[in-house]
Amino acid sequence: MIIISSSETASIRTEQDVARLLHRIKAVAADTGLGTVSQTKLMTAASELARNMLFYANEGVSYLEQISQGTKVGIRLTFIDHGPGIPDVDLAMQDGYTTNPQSLGLGLPGARRLVNEFAIISTVGKGTTVTVITWKL
């Protein structure tokens, strides 16, 4: 069972919102006892997911939670948007897949490799929800 010990919500509408969120993640991750490497990895994953929301869905909401499960503690981030959704999630999770010729198509698969747990649910026409967890080692 996952127990949530603190939670904050932020709406993501501008690049400044993303920058602010990353600062908060760093502070909360440090407070949870995550090391610099884990902190920076989590921030980078968050940067990818928040910017995807901004770019593909125009806006969204982020949840930043301190959680524990048994003796483990960690950070859970959830990104929820009501944008167009992703038709083929497996495809979108592949390295190099992108619908934007300007991009590298590494955001989603890269974010997955930067965290301990990663879940994505997307429905076309409804939106996308991505949840990631980084545990303190």
Binding site: V37, K41, S47
Partner: protein
């Protein structure tokens, strides 16, 4: 009746002003370090005059009335200038709110024998002044937002300096988050500096960048390609150990780019490319 309030204020002006100033001076929120008592007096008197000139039983229930234009402008000017001077919102709001206390005091002594009217006017004056104090807050915040947006654009300018570190070598330290506006400025400033200084090597130092995500990486790749198109070479320095790991995890290919752990290492590499040698001077050379 029409001019009752106006007349009352005019008649009681001296008392109003003195009492209001007393209230402000007595308050712990007064910033006598930011404003002299002469200034405070002048501002307070102006506000009282602007209110006295127009207040009637008609417009007292309508703070949006054009009658109050002068007063609103005056209050807006005061809160913007206070925002710039560094007053807190509380200190700025108290300026208007303390006027309410004073007005009600005066009203109370004037209308001691007419409780019905006193009650009526008390309610109305309170509402009116509350309304002005809300506008004061709004303007104050707007003043602060203007300051913030000006600072943001200043930061964008000053946070992308290009330094000529050697003849033929320019360096640009990047500090802070790179949003789209800044990435554009970074690229333009660097390319321009290469042309202006006739340099053949550019060093982009990212030690001060919080992290490298796909967008920052892509921007770095683009900047390197653009410098190459101009016949120069670009070295990326300041890759911290965690950043190196993240770049690998993201699967970003930086193998075509010369990367170095520190600015010193990048400079060393650049000297090598320019066939420059830095060495310690022989001890004897000087004494001989």
């Amino acid at each position: 009746m029409e001019h009752y309030l106006s007349d009352l204020l005019r008649r009681q002006k001296k008392r109003l002003l003195e009492q209001w100033i007393q209230n402000q001076l007595a308050s712990s929120d007064l910033r006598d370090d930011l404003m002299s008592s002469d200034e405070l007096r002048a501002q307070s008197e102006e506000v009282i005059d602007a209110l006295t000139d127009v207040l009637s039983e008609k417009n007292i229930t309508n703070p949006q009335s054009t009658d109050f234009q002068n007063l609103s402008d005056l209050l807006a000017g005061i809160s913007i200038s206070r925002a710039r001077q560094g007053f807190t919102p509380r200190e700025t709001g108290m300026f208007v709110l303390s006027l309410k206390d004073t007005l009600l005091d005066v009203l109370q002594s004037e209308l001691a024998d007419d409780p019905v009217r006193l009650h009526d006017l008390t309610m109305k004056i309170s509402k009116l002044i509350d309304n002005f104090s809300v506008s004061t807050f709004e303007t104050y915040i707007k003043g602060r937002e203007d300051i913030i947006s000006r600072q943001t654009s200043e930061i964008t300018d000053i946070s992308t300096p290009v330094i000529q570190v050697w003849d033929g070598i320019v360096a640009m330290p990047l500090i802070g988050t790179l949003d789209s506006a800044r990435t554009q400025v970074v690229m333009e400033n660097l390319l321009q500096a290469i042309v202006e200084t006739g340099s053949s090597i550019a060093i982009l130092d990212i030690s001060g960048v919080p992290t490298v995500d796909t967008r920052v990486a892509q921007h770095l790749i683009k900047t390197v390609s653009a410098t190459r198109l101009m016949g120069a070479e670009c070295i990326i320095s300041g890759i911290r150990p965690e950043i190196a790991q993240i770049v690998i995890h993201l699967g970003i290919d930086l193998s075509n780019i010369v990367t170095k752990a520190s600015l010193a290492k990048a400079l060393q590499h650049a000297f090598g490319m320019l066939r420059l040698v830095v060495r310690k001077q022989d001890r004897d050379l000087r004494s001989a």
